[in-house]
Symmetry: D2
């Protein structure tokens, strides 16, 4: 089966029976819904890229499991070259969409589950890895999007799953049958949920024995019986409902997040990849997080490329491009962004083969990468906003801009350098607004902070990987302490 | 005439014939418009505070010009105590509204025009200061809000006013009559324009001889013939049009900015405070900027107090308040905020009397204050967002929260610690969202960056005030260089 | 008795029988020792300033206890003006010496002991305050330097005094007699110890009942029986032993620290100001720390003025002064330094009277001040080093510069802009080296970090003063949570 | 000829007739001079490592030019693996010496001259590349150290070479003979000059036609007729002259810099690699700088590993290792250091083959790497100093520590946790002092700032590599601007 075109992807999503709620109503046709569609477009870009001859080797590769060329988003990394190609592809897609294109989380889940099921089976004699390979081939052959669902609502963060007042604050097995299990709970902040065919569910943290029923990993179709989702609001989401697209800042692309609810969902045995092996929950989380923290070194740098370009355009359009402080701020933005890129590259190049044969990023460097991602975008946005000027938050609406009487006034007074239409200036400033305060800011700022784990999660991992003992020994050797 | 109550203020604005346009339409009743009303409420808080016995000495004081107690926002500072009381009042109002309350710009304009007209008259024998005192008494006696309008659209930033392709890119005199002048142009990013009775117009930068017609300062009523305004969009502005207020984040208060257009507006002689005295344009700008950069050390610290409190609540509600990294982040937020406060206080305490008798802030420290304001709020927001967690950008809408079927699910899965209603958790997170990405972010982030002058403007002033020559002499003295 | 001249001060120190050890030997004549003398000179500057008519009101004031004009360093602050004059004086002395002038710690101790003895007496009926006033008058009338000795060696930081393996890790009472007490222990990192007539000893932390014998405050002459000191090394200390002064960087001024040992020292009753009142130990520490954290907002900004001047000279001398990035770095240095100054001023202006009548700084702002002092000097030094260029660490020695054959070569090749002698360029670069890496760096960097308490101590205090409860209530009020 | 052992290397340096001056005297036996020897030891470590079987593949490789295994420091990089092995080797040597081991500059010069001579020859038909290969084989076969000498004194930085008041401020050709050229001038800040057999001289900046005589590259033996050097002072250099080694902080290793003077030095034709090809001067500088900026991502991270280990030990020894803020500071140090490492790795992995066949690092990422190196070490040192406590700058001398009477007192009062000798605590703290303020600080701080080019040099390169035009096009594409 050939790779899907973008349009085929859209139609395949349309054909699903997704239960999506927003603003108190079920969305009957999510594919055409103006708030959801830009998010679908971002994901569609991952299919379009695979069709683009220029990016063939970046966006597709040959699967050792199907023997066919597959979309890289469904690929199991076979080398460090695969790992670096992953983030190169992500940077390109970030540059094209200035958005979260949502398919990474599934790719990262696939690779984490791949090696973890292998390890479980080896230790326990379970059949998870083989089941998973079957599932993987299904995804690859059908070129499907699988959401990787990890984050539970968690309730009281100070308590483990089994101590929560409500036992459903983490997804858990509520019934075990001969043919499968029944699960209940929810996954929060699920990026791209409404644009996915499938969902790979994983535990959200290291579990202990008392949380055995919560140590569960499995896959279900996104439109499985009992699954439904409630879409979260984003800053400026409803601008997409307005006439015109200028005020959205990013007229074609966007993101979305949803709460996915599992209302006693049946999972057949062949879709179960972990059930109670608590001692492997930590590895699964750590590996998924590692891959996903790497991802941010790719996509966010691509997104920032667009933002830097927009800031440079804004400077051109207002006539300040030659000011030394403006040039220096652009350089600083590039410097910070390339530092993130360097981290993404480094953790990829330093990847190593797991026991299962796929390649895992260097966990220290992947965590360092993400930790920087939780910081630098805020400074990059600050600098972009500095260059943009106050007009980025005070520009009148597109309606006013195009109004027969008001329009000429708006155009007259917000004209920048001669020759650049005010409309184009507004497009650029609205985009910077979008990235700083709007839907783009949700992805570029808040998601950079919390996606793939909040800052403290990376610090814990950095501390764990730091090997301070070895460093102490270096110091002892240099200063001459002999014990 | 007694000080106006908040309600009287609202009615006095209602009685004006303001020409306000938004989304392509004239707003017939701006006082009741859901997008504009929160902004009016913020300004109303300056009247309410003056009626509050607890804040009497902070919010009001005796005017040496009327002999009566006036609202401090119309006061000419008579001492450093007045200067510090100004920012104490601003911090309180920031704490109450978590918004820009918009009346500072007029207060700062009054004080800058006061001393500058005195200096012009002294040098030139003009009658500006006396005219201004008459106007001032009018404002004080009627307890009016005067917008301080300084920022011109500026067109191509690389060119002075008279070299712009369109001569109207800066407000200028187009006709001089026996009884007054006619002005044309616009002022951009005008905070609180729709909530003001009057407007004090000032040049936006140091002018030279060739820009003589642009060196003009005057006052007109906000509903003067030929004046109209086009409201700018803010992130999430239309959430205020929705049912419910939870999703606005800040249900009662807000801000707004507008482009004010001067379509050949007549200004009678007694309202003209500068006309062509280019050599004083720099002083006027510098003093206004000094006062206004001080202001940010007051209002923004008050706003941040609310944000810090919200972050602390968010930590309580999700059960992470005892984590050492959370406590440390709250301390850092407080530390940064109190540093801004210290700068605001210091430039006030170090104020000096001008030749005209009113008190001017220390310009070095006021610029240092504002320069820090262009930086720290971004880090404070980052830390607040860190503590808040991803839910601040993925929470479903209020409609979903209160929906008969969806509501219980939303409440179940987004319950935090036991005993705190999910609704209250959402209120706090929506507020943090508002301050980070929504209308509050416009004021707390972008306005902190560009209001009262963009960062580079402060750096130029810091450089000018630094007296590097004296510092070089200190170094020479210490190291023993004798020339 | 009139205020001492600088020379009289020097002779008064010479007349003491100080027991000072360094490099394994007792220093027979510390006043003339080349390593110690620059430190004495810095302290002498506090006497010289008091004799300087230009600084009379800053450096001296009338004591309410003697009725005479006293050196401000022995003054009990009677107003916020006194508090601000304190830091203005400190900034001037920092500008003159580019060093620690060491007399602040005694001034801060006097003011802390003043109010704390008052409080103890009030609560306990003890006679400490009256004793202290007698002692204070003695210091004021004789214009003496009292070292304020707080920091104990502390041993294992994880243990309280009474749990230490060695009971002497904190100064404590080892014998109580009818006429006084005998104390044992040591105080570490004592700045200016060798230049002081007297020493006021205070506990270093909040003590609990089990540490009663450690909750002791008293005064002894610096040459009391049983007191001796061992001088600590500073980076580049022995450059002061070399011929010439150029390589010292700061040819006349410097600092020093010592371990002061109390080898069973007798303290007569009238010199005891606390003995076992553990419940007041915290207040004493907190107040002393508050005053001393304020001090750093004065002295270090003065020191940085010299460093900024030196960086500006270095730029002039190498011909880069017009480069925009150099100008911007100087502005940033000024901005950071003035931020510290603003914090120092603010905590002074916001001071309040204590029950005893003297004025205490605002503790929140004083801690915020010091917290910034633990950060900004490192960035200021980095920027100064950036402007200075690599020559600041690679310049040949003064001996080479003045050598008959090598000298002309050194002068030829390290000539900067025409007309500036290479020797002067070296003087400036050696000074920047001194401030970055040498004795000046000890004071400007490490002491900024740890003097008056390490960074975490300030964070704890900021957390304690933050009143998060009030801030939470502000947030509740804004978002509409009613409990 | 086999690789030299460390001892053979030392003896080979001893056998040179180096003319080295310091403190006004010629150093007769530099190899045994206590100030120079630690620097020699650091360089010797590059020989020792090559003999160490554990590091064989890192420290040596097969040369395509000799067919023999050579020390990697003389190698021409044949692949990105070579580039990454280079920085892995540097990190190891940084970990072993906590110093600059000085041999990188020659390696980086070799690789830059290699490709540039190839390009010149191709464009001009000159014989430089072949000459260079002969020279390279000589270095590889004899396992020699070549200093890479680039930085001229520069005089007035605002003027090009030919406009300087003294024509010798940049190395230049003063005579051209049939058999070679005569050069005059000097190279400043030359690291490792006294430990090198050879010297490769390169122009320091892009030259224009008027500076033709300054566009010269060549090699001479370090003890060539007319070459001499004057050693620069380092902070705390003379501690190495004292008895004992504890106070040096780093008892075995160190660095040194010197001014190398060319007093009409003859260079035979076969040692000339550029003479007047001004249009290639920029490439040579850019490539050398690129390689050398990469180097800092290796060596400095290794040095910081030791510093982090020392800080962790200091925390252990004073009993604060379990404090959450201490753990967090160690994590931050690791995070910053690994970010530098990531940048070093990334620019290596992204290296590309030049026309000449050797591999050049990615210039954008190499400059980003170095730019971060100009920042993070200052913060790492600040954090290390924070953990170390004030004792790092107030500890008494080793003489006092070991003194029969003073020693027991010093040991008693500076005892930390039970069981750790005070001497060991001092060793660790002296090391942190060394890295912050002493000879180690010269290398870790000032050299990180200026070595391989000052910060602004990297910013210019980042700006040049940023391709803002492409980024603007990305923005136009996203927002829908079609021209």
């Amino acid at each position: 089966m050939p790779l899907k075109t973008g349009e085929e992807y859209v139609e395949s999503i349309r054909s699903l029976n997704l239960k999506i709620y927003m603003f108190g109503e079920r969305i009957e046709n999510p594919v055409d819904h103006p708030i959801l569609r830009p998010s679908l477009n971002s994901l569609k870009a991952t299919y379009d890229l695979a069709q683009n001859p220029e990016y063939r080797d970046l966006a597709t590769t040959k699967s050792p499991f199907t023997g066919e060329r597959v979309n890289r988003f469904t690929h199991i990394h076979q080398s460090t070259e695969d790992l670096t190609n992953k983030i190169r592809m992500q940077r390109v897609l970030g540059q094209m969409t200035a958005s979260c294109f949502q398919r990474c989380v599934g790719m990262d889940a696939l690779n984490a589950v791949f090696s973890t099921t292998f390890d479980i089976d080896k230790a326990k004699g379970t059949p998870y890895h083989e089941r998973f390979l079957t599932y993987l081939r299904y995804l690859q052959e059908n070129d499907l999007v699988a959401d990787g669902a990890m984050t539970d609502p968690k309730g009281d963060r100070g308590l483990p799953p089994h101590k929560q007042a409500d036992p459903d604050m983490f997804v858990h097995v509520v019934e075990r049958r001969a043919d499968g299990i029944v699960v209940r709970g929810a996954k929060a902040h699920q990026t791209g949920a409404s644009n996915s065919h499938e969902m790979i569910v994983m535990p959200t943290q290291t579990m202990t024995e008392a949380d055995r029923d919560y140590a569960v990993a499995f896959a279900v179709p996104m439109d499985a019986e009992g699954v439904f989702m409630i879409v979260g609001r984003q800053s400026c989401d409803t601008r997409k409902l307005e006439d015109g697209t200028l005020d959205t800042g990013n007229p074609r692309f966007g993101g979305m997040e949803a709460l996915i609810v599992f209302d006693d969902v049946f999972v057949p045995n062949d879709r179960i990849f972990m059930d109670g092996e608590v001692e492997f929950s930590g590895d699964l989380v750590e590996r998924f997080a590692g891959y996903h923290r790497q991802s941010y070194g790719g996509c966010k740098t691509g997104v920032a490329d667009v933002l830097i370009g927009a800031a440079a355009l804004a400077a051109d359009y207002s006539g300040v491009a030659r000011a030394s402080h403006v040039k220096d701020k652009l350089i600083e933005m590039v410097h910070l962004n390339e530092t993130l890129w360097a981290c993404g590259l480094a953790c990829s190049f330093e990847g190593k083969a797991t026991a299962s044969g796929n390649y895992l990023v260097d966990l220290m460097l992947a965590n360092v990468c993400k930790q920087n991602v939780t910081r630098f975008p805020y400074e990059i946005v600050r600098l972009a906003s500095d260059i943009a000027g106050g007009l980025m938050v005070t520009a009148p609406s597109e309606t006013d801009l195009n109004h027969p009487e008001l329009g000429p006034i708006v155009k007259k007074y917000f004209q920048g350098v001669a020759g650049v239409p005010t409309e184009d200036r507004f497009k650029v400033l609205r985009f910077i607004e979008n990235m700083s305060l709007g839907t783009g800011g949700v992805a570029y700022l808040t998601e950079s902070l919390h996606g793939a784990g909040s800052p403290q999660a990376q610090r814990i991992m950095i501390g764990r990987q730091a090997d301070l003992g070895a460093k102490k020994n270096l110091a002892k050797s240099v200063v001459g302490i002999d014990y």
